[in-house]
């Protein structure tokens, strides 16, 4: 996201409209991280709004390379704060989650894989269940790297952990999802 730079500079100089450009560029990713973390639409929206407000107030303290990673760290903290305030609420079942998730495709810089035909409902449900069953640290890394396209470094920054940790959690999470897909017959090794 190299052309964030001009908007970041303007926002740091006090231009709220410039910051709102950043909001619109990153709100899909931010909201989805919150949604995947809190697993509740309303809570995710609240946490996302709080995160953007915090980011706006603190924008002058951003001096890294990835605005997205910095922002997503704030989103995660807002999610953890929301959890502390409300206690763990009952979350949607994984089936309901698979149905709730909208059809909006990911805006992804990478070219789509050949296998990237639309996933069947059954496959999506299997994957959502598998993700939901993962330990949260593995799930968050998969959400950031595989669902949202962050690089290892960005994910490490957003999570506040070393890159090696990103790498190992990612591998374990992917392996588990792979095994679930294989077991359900939704993935045949070529």
């Amino acid at each position: 996201m190299t052309d964030d730079a001009r908007w970041i500079e303007a926002a740091q100089a006090g231009d709220a409209d410039a910051f709102n450009v950043l909001v619109e560029r990153h709100q899909l990713v931010a909201y989805n991280l919150a949604y995947r973390t809190l697993r509740n639409r309303e809570d995710a929206a609240d946490a996302t709004q709080e995160a953007f407000l915090s980011a706006y107030r603190a924008v002058r303290s951003f001096h890294g390379t990835s605005f997205r990673a910095w922002l997503l760290r704030i989103v995660l903290n807002a999610c953890y704060d929301a959890r502390r305030r409300s206690g763990r609420r009952p979350t949607s079942s994984m089936d309901a989650l698979a149905e709730e998730v909208g059809e909006l495709p990911w805006a992804d810089e990478r070219s789509p894989e050949p296998e990237a035909a639309a996933l069947s409902r059954e496959t999506r449900t299997i994957i959502e269940r598998a993700l939901g069953a993962l330990p949260e640290d593995q799930r968050l890394v998969i959400v950031l790297v595989d669902l949202q396209g962050l690089a290892y470094e960005e994910a490490a920054e957003a999570l506040g952990c070393p890159i090696g940790t990103v790498r190992s959690r990612l591998a374990r999470g992917r392996a588990q999802v792979r095994d679930d897909l294989l077991a359900s017959g939704n993935l045949s090794p070529s």
Binding site: A11, Q12, G14, A16, N20, V23, E24, Q27, L28, A30, Y31, N32, Y35, R41, D43, A44, A45, Q49, F52, L53, Y56, R57, A58, V59, R60, E100, V101, G102, E103, L104, P105, W106, D108, R110, E113, E115, A116, A118, L119, T123, R124, I127, E128, I142, V145, D146, L147, G149, R167, S168, L170, A171, R172, R174, A175, R178, L181, L187, P189, S190
Partner: protein, 251 residues
């Protein structure tokens, strides 16, 4: 020579291009000769591809920031602090303290006998920490309160009369003789909850005394600046407290 089978972590990193070149080459050489590992790699690759096209949730609205305090130059840090609930409650506390000081300064100009009458009227709700501590001994010493129970406050003349009588009562608390020494600010001042309680006590006491004050000579005609300032501070303190609690709720 067959290199050892790569770990899942190595395969995963290979697919992301996150392996050092030498390791990546060694693993590729192994994969050329090991069907089992190739199968693992392809299953992993297929899984990642599916994860990447998992549909996203649509945000319910835009999260643009509206009317937020601008991250301006020198004021950025203090402004961010001011928006926090703790800071707002501290502000409310400071405003209430200043209000008390103004009441006292104003009351010091009022005759002593009025102070005695005023103290009897001031009955604190049981829950108020500051009022509860200082007043029980006052109530027994003074005449039975002349106030009518739970009267609704009148509007226009109320605040002025209430302010003077509250000032009288505040003055009388630590000094039963009605001396003019300044009372301490209510204890627990730093604690937001107690400050709110004190404020509620003072406002309630003002309301109760309005009716009883009608017969006695009122304060000098017009509102003295001290009382105007005190009222303004009272409003500021209450507003700051309300905002601090409202701001905590999710939108």
């Amino acid at each position: 020579m067959q290199s050892p089978h790569p770990t899942t972590e190595e395969l995963s990193a290979l697919l992301d291009g996150e392996l050092p070149a030498a390791e990546a080459d060694a693993i590729r050489r192994h994969l050329d000769t090991c069907a089992a590992c190739r199968a693992d790699l392809e299953a992993l690759r297929g899984t990642i591809a599916m994860l990447r096209v998992l549909p996203a949730a649509a945000p319910p609205r835009s999260f643009r920031v509206f009317d937020a305090p601008k991250p301006g130059g020198l004021l950025a840090f203090p402004l961010a602090r001011l928006a926090s609930p703790v800071a707002l409650r501290a502000l409310a506390g400071v405003a209430a303290a200043l209000m008390v000081v103004l009441f006292v300064a104003d009351a010091a100009r009022i005759d002593a006998p009025r102070a005695d009458t005023g103290a009897a009227d001031l009955r604190a709700p049981p829950g108020s920490p500051a009022a509860g501590e200082a007043r029980p001994d006052q109530a027994t010493r003074q005449a039975p309160p002349a106030l009518a129970p739970q009267r609704a406050p009148s509007s226009a003349g109320g605040p002025a009369a209430g302010a003077s009588s509250a000032a009288d009562s505040v003055q009388a608390l630590p000094s039963p003789e009605g001396a003019t020494e300044a009372p301490q600010p209510p204890p627990g001042f730093a604690a937001p909850a107690e400050t709110a309680g004190d404020r509620a006590v003072v406002v309630t006491a003002q309301a109760r005394q309005i009716e009883t004050r009608e017969s006695t000579p009122a304060a000098p005609s017009g509102l003295p600046p001290a009382r105007i300032a005190a009222l303004a501070l009272a409003l500021l303190a209450v507003s700051a407290l309300v905002v601090s609690f409202v701001a905590r709720r999710p939108t």
